[in-house]
């Protein structure tokens, strides 16, 4: 197994290097001269001399490979440059915003997992009945409604009309309920189909007949025999949804006035604040690669075949 983990680790490192190159290349390939842009940001109608100063300052006149090296070195030490727009250092801003995005995404993922199992089992336990139809409809709606619409509906129904939850802020659990539901509905819908279809496929396989021949009830077969078989697929899908939730955060954070990393990223994108975009993208890609690594290892632990393969390798 350790060999298999080592292979995954190596792949993750390769992807990380590619991700840093991508982040770096994006800014280098930006149209227009970055130095001119920044110089004009400081003093409108910057002179040639002023532009040269900026170039010198940012090391823009050095060869690409050196610029990449010094940028990477800085990034590794938490120095991700300065926002062109506000002049603030990006590293500390990211550090202070990261907990908010993490709370949003992790809470949303927990909500999605809960809802997906509830919906999936609702259908699998009583196939063809009302619960099955209900779970299908919720899954279809969840997969088809844009998250900004879900958020708007939730705000209107639960906050404006019923006054149950606050629509913004990060104080206390209640202020997180609506953002979690908004960001979690789409992954919940997708994952509930994974659970439902996975369970049903497992129930159609011969080992389910064996379990039935043992005298187990349908419920017992679902939980004891079918569930362990969908674990690897589910973990894999959960990882993919983790990536989708970052996109969700870009919508949900501004909608609920959450000052997280995704909000910073969106600000950067809207105002073409290259360094902010680059830094946020690096954070997203890194966490995504780490998430996939965790998914790979998780799949190894839940799929006996993968586990033993690694042991023999």
């Amino acid at each position: 197994m350790s060999t298999l983990i080592a292979i995954r680790l190596r792949n993750a490192v390769v992807l990380l290097v590619l991700a840093t190159m991508l982040c770096f290349a994006l800014v280098v390939s930006a149209p227009g001269n970055v130095a001119v842009l920044i110089a004009e940001l400081r003093t409108p109608k910057a002179t040639f001399e002023q532009i040269r100063v900026v170039e010198e300052e940012l090391g823009l006149n050095q060869p690409l490979i050196l610029r990449y090296g010094s940028w990477l070195n800085g990034a590794l030490h938490g120095n991700l440059g300065v926002s062109y727009k506000t002049g603030d250092a990006i590293g500390p801003a990211l550090a202070s915003r990261l907990p908010i995005t993490l709370t949003l995404v992790v809470g949303g993922a927990a909500f999605a997992m809960l809802l997906s199992f509830a919906l999936g089992f609702l259908g699998a336990l009583w196939p063809g009945r009302f619960g099955d139809a209900l779970s299908r409809v919720i899954a279809l709606l969840g997969a088809s409604m844009p998250s900004f619409f879900v958020g708007a509906l939730l705000i209107y129904a639960l906050a404006v009309e019923l006054g149950l939850f606050p629509t913004f802020g990060t104080a206390g659990l209640s202020s997180w309920v609506l953002p979690w539901m908004t960001i979690g509905l789409l992954p919940a819908a997708v994952l509930s189909r994974v659970v439902r279809v996975g369970l049903e496929e497992a129930m159609a396989r011969p080992f389910a007949l064996t379990a039935s021949a043992k005298g187990l009830s349908r419920r017992a077969i679902l939980f004891r025999h079918a569930l362990p078989n969908i674990a690897p697929t589910y973990i894999n899908a959960l990882g993919a949804q983790g990536g989708a939730m970052v996109v969700g955060a870009v919508v949900v954070e501004p909608l609920f006035a959450l000052k997280g990393v995704a909000d910073l990223f969106l600000q950067g994108v809207l105002f073409r604040d290259f360094m902010v975009v680059q830094a946020c993208l690096l954070v997203f890609l890194t966490s995504f690669i780490l998430l996939n690594l965790m998914v790979d290892i998780g799949m190894m632990f839940t799929d006996p075949k993968l586990r033993r393969q690694g042991a023999n390798a």
């Binding site: 088809s144 844009p146 279809v197 996109v247 919508v251 809207l270």
Partner: protein
């Protein structure tokens, strides 16, 4: 002719609601300029925030623009954008996929590694970053979304192409001495395009959602072109006083995406056995009731 018949057979099996929603969407998109009762951008500040009436069936927005007309013209915006994204993504994806499936060997290895990296990255975030660097604008949005979608279509194309190449009639063509170009352009490409287009319908809903999401964020369709996501974000400040102006565009978009998703679901081959419906069981029992039973 055979392909046409297959197509009609496939259409007949689609769920009716999906067919209705998608059909209506395409129809609205094509005929929008003739169907919309008003100029979607004609402002009438005196009639702003109007309730539904005979003049404005679905009311007006904060600038007094006719909501129904804007909803209808948005269908066109969405349809055109979606088609462009899919066209570009599928062209790139099918080219790479079929070349990989045709050449195999190291060409396939290299191409599919690139596709794997594309699939491993959260594509929409990369697309957003690209917009952040190159600026907002219609074509930047289309290209950014195509960038997010091509790896998926490349992977499907390769799988389909490998399947086509393994068919016995391709093998016999090769033996008979057909040129590689002929095999590629006359046999492999048409078969692959047909199959991949079917998969593309499943993705069309997600593309429509992404266009709306980018527009909602102010990164996609730019005003004054009407678009559902943008209509929703425009109406959001007035959520408490005019909730319907928020709900309507969201609802229409959702219906369209439901249609595409249902189509995709009926195409996806995750058919699992379901319990025998009561109606069919009764029918079958009625048949068997006529059979003689052995005397006990």
């Amino acid at each position: 002719m055979r392909r046409l018949r297959d197509l009609f057979q496939a259409l007949a099996q689609l769920p009716r609601l999906a067919f209705l929603a998608v059909g209506l969407f395409v129809l609205l998109g094509v005929l929008a300029p003739w169907l919309a009762p008003y100029d979607p951008n004609a402002q009438d500040l005196l009639a702003a925030h109007a309730d539904p009436s005979w003049q404005h069936w679905l009311g007006t927005d904060h600038l007094g623009r006719d909501t129904l007309s804007r909803l209808i013209v948005s269908a066109r915006t969405s349809l055109v954008g979606m088609s462009l994204v899919l066209l570009i993504a599928l062209s790139v994806g099918i080219t790479i996929g079929t070349v990989a499936g045709y050449r195999r060997g190291w060409v396939e290895e290299v191409l599919m590694r690139i596709v794997d990296v594309g699939l491993a990255m959260p594509s929409l975030i990369v697309a957003l970053a690209v917009i952040g660097i190159f600026g907002t604008g219609y074509w930047n949005m289309i290209l950014a979304l195509a960038l997010a979608w091509w790896p998926g279509s490349a992977r499907i194309s390769r799988a389909v192409a490998v399947g086509v190449m393994n068919r016995p009639h391709i093998e016999s063509l090769r033996v008979l001495g057909a040129s590689p170009g002929r095999i590629y352009f006359h046999h492999l490409l048409p078969s692959t395009i047909g199959a991949v287009l079917v998969y593309a319908t499943a993705d069309a809903g997600a593309v429509a959602l992404s266009i709306a999401t980018l527009s909602f964020l102010g990164l996609g369709i730019q005003p004054p072109t009407p678009e559902w996501g943008q209509m929703l974000v425009d109406a959001l400040p007035y959520l408490e006083s005019a909730p319907w102006q928020v709900i309507l565009p969201g609802l229409v978009l959702t219906l369209v995406v439901i249609g595409f998703n249902l189509l995709g679901e009926s195409i996806a081959l995750n058919r699992v056995p379901t319990p025998l419906p009561r109606r069919i069981l009764l029918k079958r029992r009625a048949v068997a009731a006529g059979w003689k039973k052995a005397a006990p």
